[in-house]
Symmetry: C2
Subunit: 338 residues, 2 copies
């Protein structure tokens, strides 16, 4: 199983990306890591290792898409970028999966363009894990699709149910619909129509989920439009970081509170672990014909390692085949309902 | 200046609502508080006070809209509910403002139906204060309007700018547009078209604001569609409460962390104050022809007192007249742009 890794993507590239890739290559002996990017830069990094695992190869790409580049423009103009080349390796069948901590928009655009969607899938969606009181809730979509139709949200429910089963080991994932009230008839047209689709599906649909119920763990999966999901994801990052830093700043103001914070530190640990994106490695772009894992721009070696692990799990479990098969099955009853 | 208070609205009604109203009547001698609801229940509460302020009167309403009632249905069916009667007192000119901690949807529906919108205003919107690192950010709309057009969002910017000036004392409020990226051309059609409208306006427009930038205080006001705003408001409540309770639960697990949390307590105080909705009293439904303050269902006497204070401030400062005048002015240049 081969994974193409965008060696130039992310704030800490290529150093941390290559470090994570080497770790993964050592751990997953039956896999092959294809490092894609500036050949010289990659070789310079690899030279610092006493031994480079044999299952690491390099693929030259002369360009890098920076965070400032507009997504679609850069995909069209920088045809030899590390992101595009990585995705192309999957499109041509040379690799099964791509992992990138680079420009998210460009990765989504390149994957959608070169990999195309899976049979039966209308639009790809990004599923991001949100911390909850006792675990994690997958929110899909968080930014790949900002013009969602009910059928897209329904398909997100199907795709993330399979993802949740295979990657998080949830036996029977509960799917919720992000809405502004708990009653069935609440929400805008998109929410109402999606509610009807999900109610008649084979998914374990738990109804509408309000914003406040996500942390309480009312559902294992919450489907929503990409605009709302993206706003919520970034808002959560900002709020959680802001709250913790406010507590810290306040605690530093006196000796006793400073001591208190020091003693209290272990109580913050589980929370920090919950919010640690490096544990999950990255978020999958579900629905494209290939495996695509998008990592946080601040990814370190641990995040890259875990992203490669998830990419391999998705590939080995043939999650995409299962998505197609489930959607084929789902299409029949759905068609009879409408 | 008369304020109609829905004495039966909220989890702690009528006790806390009447307590807050009595406090407000004592403090604001030149105002009059009209307690609306079940006459007997109100009199029973008032009987527990040694002296009832003379500027408190009662207005009987035989019905109560419960939290389980669907909003529009209850407004049509329960025509003698405390919410409807309170709003009607404003519509008939007997009161200048209405304050309710009851069913939010019903309050919005009754106000929109009976008060109608101000001249020039297309849709009313609810402006809710979100805590930020150094103050507060008004997010509008958080649920009154889930089918927003660009002109609605633009008008929300105008209305909340006036509100922010008069109620929060912000001299020149910075208005941002909630979006999924900082670049000008980002977002869905609604965001792009609203961006154009705000860019050409007289408002102090600071561009797109991402979810993570709200807590950092990039803007004093953030305009967004009601569905997104409502999701974000409830998500913030759930996340903040969840994070703090997780820390507390963890800290209780050992003697040292328990001691640490005890010593650390003062460091949490400013954060708790920031998140304390009772400080703001309630959120205004801006754009209706009258003053309408919607309180949290869990409102206590302090929240009701503050809501009455804000209602009086809005009425005395003739904020609605200023909204109409600003929108009249704004219409000319906007029209020339489109």
């Amino acid at each position: 199983m081969k994974v193409a890794v965008d060696a130039m993507g992310g704030d800490k590239a290529p150093h941390e990306v290559i470090k994570g890739s080497v770790l993964a290559a050592q751990q997953f002996r039956d896999s092959e890591i294809l490092l894609v990017g500036d050949e010289k830069a990659i070789q310079r990094e690899l030279a610092s290792y006493s031994t480079v695992p044999k299952n690491i190869t390099t693929h030259h790409a002369s360009q890098v898409i920076s965070m400032e580049d507009p997504a679609t423009y850069s995909i069209r103009q920088k045809t030899n970028s590390s992101i595009t080349r990585s995705v192309e390796l999957v499109a041509s069948g040379e690799a099964a999966a791509v992992v990138s901590a680079g420009h998210t928009g460009a990765t989504v655009a390149a994957s959608t363009l070169h990999l195309r969607t899976l049979k039966e899938v209308r639009r790809p969606g990004i599923a991001a894990p949100f911390p909850t009181r006792n675990g994690v809730c997958l929110v899909i979509d968080v930014g790949a699709n900002i013009a969602c139709k009910p059928i897209h949200l329904f398909q997100y429910g199907v795709m993330s149910t399979i993802f949740s089963k295979y990657i998080f080991g949830v036996k029977d994932p509960r799917v919720g619909l992000l809405n502004i009230g708990e009653e069935d008839a609440k929400g805008n047209d998109l929410a109402k129509e999606t509610f009807a689709l999900l109610s008649h599906s084979q998914l374990t649909f738990v109804g509408n989920v309000e914003g406040r119920e996500i942390f309480d763990g009312k559902a294992d999966i919450v489907v929503c439009e990409g605009f709302v999901g993206n706003v919520m994801l970034k808002f959560a990052e900002g709020l959680a970081a802001g709250l913790l830093s406010t507590i810290k700043t306040e605690a530093m103001k006196s000796f006793w509170t400073k001591l208190g914070l020091f003693l209290c530190k272990p109580a913050f640990a589980p929370l920090k672990a919950k919010m640690d994106f490096t544990e999950y490695g990255g978020v999958p772009l579900l629905g494209v014909n290939g495996v695509c894992i998008i990592c946080h721009g601040r990814s370190d070696s641990k995040a890259i390692y875990n992203a490669i692990r998830v990419a391999l799990q998705l590939s080995k479990n043939k999650v995409n085949d299962q998505i197609v098969s489930e959607l084929e099955k789902a299409n029949a009853p759905t068609a009879s309902v409408t």
